[in-house]
């Protein structure tokens, strides 16, 4: 693994699709970039998605070539499993303090063979599958992970030492400890991405109590060919679901949970998943309960019409409560908005809560940029300079600035890279002007 150098032109925080795009755009312009991700693999949320709307292209097929390009780019240094502790302005530059978390193996000699994972006796819920699948205490994050290097979680380890014994390259190093590193960078791009609204935000929906009430990201994994079940099954009992409901605006557009904004992607990902469920399970009943469908992007309205034409029921109705009945089935109490608010009860095998997007990271204590009221980074010049933050030389890309879909995140990442490059050119020009002239 390459050591942290004294200086880089740019630091990109977050290795999701926005951070990768920003790093690639800067690298291609000739800037030296340090791309930092706190997780053991880059790829962010996108690499775990099944397909993207409205084209239904394979998500990881789009994401992984860019991940590989960033990892092999001569001017991008990838630093995974690393936390940014602080970023402090020094003149036009920034002093960066990093914590390099130990993987408990030598990254240079690990060949990603999986032997350690297969030898480990402990199975734990896998974060990549949102707990539905399992991994071991030492594991490679997933099949598309970059880098393809294992990581050991000591808190899950039974200290049997089997991983060390089976490693063909003897790369396991139990004595590793977290290391601190500092560097100086000329500019910073924050691309720290998203989480979905916590499943327990609306207790009346039972998201954290009922196993068959699931998050949309868990459904992405279930629908994926490399998902935890290999096909669509109920988490409670392995039943092939015959009736599936989507509850829209389950984690946004709701002042009662402190998330008043529209998350912009929920209508479209729900429509996409609903359509794919119709493809994956013959004659399955899929119903979307919504306040209104917001299909605003290129080709989105046509996609919405296609989903309805292919048999997905789209009902204007507000779900008030979900209860679990016998056999882990679910009973939804729905106010039908198109029928004068008539209240009905509908039974479904499986329910997906269309959770909203919230920021995955907050800058307080790390870097002195302001957040907006909604918790995303404040972009004071949102109309003309959407990537500008409240600190000169620090830019934001992707969902860290607010909810958006993948195309918008990539476009804004390009804009952030261009703004960061511009900042670097101006700073260099100013530095040259301030240098004392040589007198001959």
């Amino acid at each position: 693994m390459a050591e942290i150098r004294n200086r880089y032109d740019a630091l990109v925080i977050g290795g999701g699709i926005a951070g990768i795009q920003a790093a690639l755009d800067l690298g291609e312009q000739g800037f030296e970039v340090l791309l930092v991700d706190r997780y053991p693999s880059i790829g962010g949320v996108m690499v775990g998605l099944n397909k993207v709307f409205p084209t239904l292209d394979c998500s990881s097929c789009i994401c992984t070539p860019r991940m590989a390009e960033a990892a092999h780019h001569e001017r991008i240094q990838l630093q995974t499993y690393t936390e940014v502790r602080s970023v402090v302005r020094q003149g036009t530059d920034f002093e960066v303090d990093l914590v390099l978390k130990p993987r408990y193996l030598d990254e240079d000699t690990c060949i990603g063979c999986n032997e350690c994972e297969l030898a480990c006796p402990v199975h734990v819920p896998h974060e990549f599958d949102y707990g539905l699948g399992s991994r071991r205490a030492i594991y490679i994050p997933h099949g598309n992970a970059i880098p393809q290097k294992a990581v050991l979680v000591p808190g899950e380890c039974v200290f049997c030492g089997k991983c060390e014994k089976v490693c063909p390259t003897h790369c396991i190093d139990f004595t590793q400890e977290a290391r601190r590193a500092t560097t100086t960078v000329g500019t910073v791009i924050i691309a720290t991405g998203l989480q979905i609204t916590p499943m327990d935000k609306k207790p009346e929906y039972g998201g954290s109590r009922f196993p068959n009430v699931m998050s949309p990201l868990a459904m992405e994994r279930i629908q994926s060919s490399n998902g935890p079940y290999g096909r669509v099954l109920r988490p409670a009992d392995g039943k092939i679901p015959r009736s599936i409901a989507y509850v829209q605006c389950a984690g946004s557009r709701d002042r009662s949970i402190g998330i008043p904004y529209c998350s912009r992607v929920c209508c479209m990902y729900a429509l996409k998943q609903a359509l794919l469920l119709r493809h994956y399970i013959h004659d399955v009943d899929v119903t979307l309960y919504h306040m209104d469908i917001r299909a605003f992007g290129k080709g989105y309205e046509q996609f919405y019409r296609r989903v309805m034409a292919e048999g997905v029921k789209v009902i204007k109705g507000k779900v008030a409560k979900i209860t679990e009945v016998d056999n882990y089935d679910l009973l939804l109490r729905v106010e039908l908005l198109d029928e004068d608010g008539r209240v009905v009860e509908r039974r479904h095998d499986l329910v997906v809560l269309s959770q909203g997007l919230v920021p995955a990271w907050h800058p307080k204590g790390t870097i002195d940029v302001a957040e907006a009221d909604d918790g995303f980074l404040l972009t004071p010049e949102a109309k003309v300079n959407p990537s500008f933050t409240t600190m000169d030389g620090v830019f934001v890309a992707g969902v860290a600035a607010g909810p958006k879909d993948i195309p918008d995140a990539i476009v804004e990442a390009g804009e952030a890279a261009m703004a960061a490059a511009n900042y670097l050119y101006v700073a260099r020009r100013r530095a040259r002007i301030q240098e004392p002239a040589l007198v001959h």
């Binding site: 380890c157 049997c160 139990f174």
Partner: protein, 104 residues
């Protein structure tokens, strides 16, 4: 120093193995992990034993092993991922699982 104490003193001088260094740094295996791990081994064994008698669905396995169904499902999927179980058929809307090599 008593005679009984001598061997342990010698043991102390012996350099620690790397796995022991890791264990000591993290305070050993927590009680929760120990219980979790033991329970996991018990559930895996119970599922495999139940399947020796023939293929079963997750609710059937849960009933036979006296486990709750979601927990059984998670463990069945872990065994499936390891290649110990395979899906052998579909019965009344559920998949039927068998031990690998014993599909009927």
């Amino acid at each position: 120093m008593t005679e009984e104490a001598k061997p342990s003193a010698e043991k102390k001088d012996k350099p620690k193995r790397p796995i022991e260094i890791l264990r000591d740094r993290h305070g050993g295996m927590s009680k929760e992990l120990k219980e979790f791990f033991n329970e996991q081994q018990r559930v895996f064994k119970a599922i495999k034993t139940a399947l020796k008698a023939g293929p079963k669905t997750v609710p059937q396995l849960a009933a036979e092993c006296k486990l709750d169904s979601p927990k059984t499902m998670w463990h069945v999927m872990a065994l499936r991922r390891d290649g110990d179980l395979v899906e052998s058929a579909e019965r009344d809307g559920y998949l039927v699982y068998s031990l690998k090599g014993e599909e009927r």
